[in-house]
């Protein structure tokens, strides 16, 4: 029983990680209607910047944390302007190739600048187990807490601010958005900036758990992608819940049902099965349009 609980909680802890990455994917999807394959590598690179600020510059954790978010925002914004802007009217697959290009560039540059040996990333949370439990650490709880906080902020931003509404409008229907005076290009760039920031947050939370190295995100991105689609790619809340479901399901399947060798394959098959039944994800809104 204790082992079972342990599996559930370590699944929840992993789920928190997937959720935070899924959130970044949902963010970029909401703002640009693309799924950015380079999101994971951008997050990884931002995490290295955070690491350098803490370990090499010597800034306190939270200062470095927010500075990294700001740097990631500017970087995401700039990448949209420089790399993706010229491709705006190009076919979708061309843009995907550009994403793949960005992915390999960031991966290679991280190795080049920071080497491939793993680095420990500090956590701002206490190391003693909270409330004397032995299942979850403060960092696990903190990850969930920060993810939920980001989720609420995003929800509020998109739902209640004119800028958030404009960003959604620009992604859904750029032509109509221009007709109400929205600067669509700027919205896309802001969306990239925000997504890069959220990715940076996710990266910094993840890095403490899995250790920082240039390939840190390659596996996680897949789980994040699956979580986001499972929960509903246009639904931030769904993506977070999807993350937890994937984390727990993967752990339990691996530990008790199919063994560790095939757990990824089976988990993916299950997710695809769910998507076949509910094509918009568990919590996604099915788009209804009357002509």
């Amino acid at each position: 029983m204790e082992a079972f609980l342990h599996q559930i909680f370590s699944g929840l802890a992993a789920g928190g990680i997937y959720a935070s990455v899924a959130l970044a994917l949902v963010m970029i999807y909401t703002a640009t209607h693309h799924i950015n394959f380079a999101q994971g590598e951008m997050a990884m690179f931002a995490t290295y910047i955070g690491w350098a600020l803490i370990e090499q510059v010597g800034l306190p954790y939270w200062v470095a944390f927010f500075l990294t978010i700001a740097i990631a925002f500017v970087a995401g914004f700039t990448i949209e302007r420089i790399v993706l802007r010229p491709l705006a009217d190009k076919p979708v697959l061309s843009i995907i190739i550009a994403f793949i290009g960005l992915l390999v560039i960031f991966n290679a540059l991280a190795g080049f600048f920071f080497s491939y040996t793993i680095k420990a990333f500090p956590s701002p949370f206490p190391t003693s187990p909270p409330f004397g439990n032995k299942f979850l650490s403060w960092h696990d709880l903190g990850t969930v807490g920060i993810t939920v906080m980001v989720l609420l902020l995003l929800f509020g931003f998109f739902r209640f601010t004119p800028l958030g509404l404009a960003m959604r409008a620009a992604a859904f229907n750029p032509e109509s958005a221009r007709l109400v005076g929205i600067r669509v290009g700027l919205m896309l760039a802001l969306g990239w900036g925000l997504a890069a920031s959220i990715g940076g947050i996710a990266g910094m939370l993840v890095a403490h758990v899995v250790y920082l190295d240039p390939n840190m995100m390659s596996g996680i991105l897949l789980y994040g992608f699956a979580s986001a689609l499972l929960g509903g790619i246009d639904n931030p809340g769904g993506a977070v819940v999807g993350g937890f479901i994937v984390g727990v399901a993967e752990n339990l399947l691996g530990a008790y049902v199919i063994g560790t060798e095939l757990k990824l394959s089976v988990a993916l098959v299950l997710i695809i099965g769910v998507l076949l039944v509910r094509p918009a994800g568990l919590f996604g809104r099915r788009l209804v349009t009357r002509v």
Binding site: A166, S176, I182, V288, R290
Partner: protein, 237 residues
């Protein structure tokens, strides 16, 4: 009356194809002007050219200010609202979000709130459906929504692209009644593109007739309505 929009030698097209070959026309402040013509004459392109949605050359000036070549969003900010072909609904957003977006460039919050209530007064059905996803509205409701969104800009010039398209006659009548009312009450100038010439000539003060990218006839609505030859050869009724 003062001229709100003056267009001289307007050429526009898509890619290598030129659709408009040098149009001249003008719109008077506070009036309703209509552009008539057969399919493919260039009516929709004319509206898109005014808002900078296609590549243009020639002169377009709004209240004396040159706007040709400006970006769409900048032209919108000068007070040109466009109810586009196909209505341009943000189908994934709610009705109210669609309407709120219309006022995106305005910063006068109190006035925006007042405008929203007034527009709901014109279109009470939209108010009933304010929380509904806009994609689920009927065609007529989506047309009303598009007009409402455009009006939220508090525009100087409202461009309307075939507001009657695909709608039942009763709904068309209602929409046109409201458009006339808005024009009269709020002094919003309108440029109306219609295939249904009889309908358009009924509401418009002034009309231009396009054929393959050129203005072939212009005049007040009454004159054109009563010109037997024009009616037969161009308008076909």
């Amino acid at each position: 009356m003062a001229k709100l929009l003056e267009v001289k030698g307007l050429r526009a097209g898509y890619g290598p194809t030129e659709v408009l070959h040098g149009l001249d026309f003008e719109i008077e402040e506070g009036g309703i002007t209509t552009i008539l013509g057969a399919n493919g004459a260039g009516k929709t392109t004319t509206l898109r050219a005014i808002c900078g949605m296609v590549r243009v050359s020639g002169q377009v000036s709004l209240g004396g200010q040159a706007i040709a070549g400006k970006a769409t969003e900048d032209i919108v900010r000068l007070g040109v609202a466009h109810v586009p072909d196909g209505r341009g609904t943000f189908v994934q957003l709610t009705t109210e979000e669609n309407i709120r977006l219309g006022a995106y460039v305005r910063s006068d919050k109190a006035a925006v709130a007042a405008d929203m209530e007034r527009i709901y007064g014109y279109f009470p059905r939209l108010k009933e459906r304010r929380e509904q996803q806009a994609g689920t509205l009927s065609g007529g409701e989506q047309q009303m929504l598009a007009i409402s969104r455009a009006l939220m800009l508090s525009p100087r010039l409202l461009l309307l692209d075939e507001p009657s398209f695909g709608l039942a006659p009763l709904i068309v009548q209602e929409i046109y009644r409201i458009l006339r009312e808005i024009n009269r009450k709020e002094r919003v100038s309108m440029l109306l593109v219609e295939q249904n010439a009889a309908l358009a000539l009924d509401v418009a003060d002034h009309a231009y007739l396009l054929e393959t990218g050129n203005v072939v006839v212009s005049g007040t609505s009454d004159v054109i309505k009563n010109d037997e030859t024009v009616r037969r050869s161009y308008l076909g009724y």
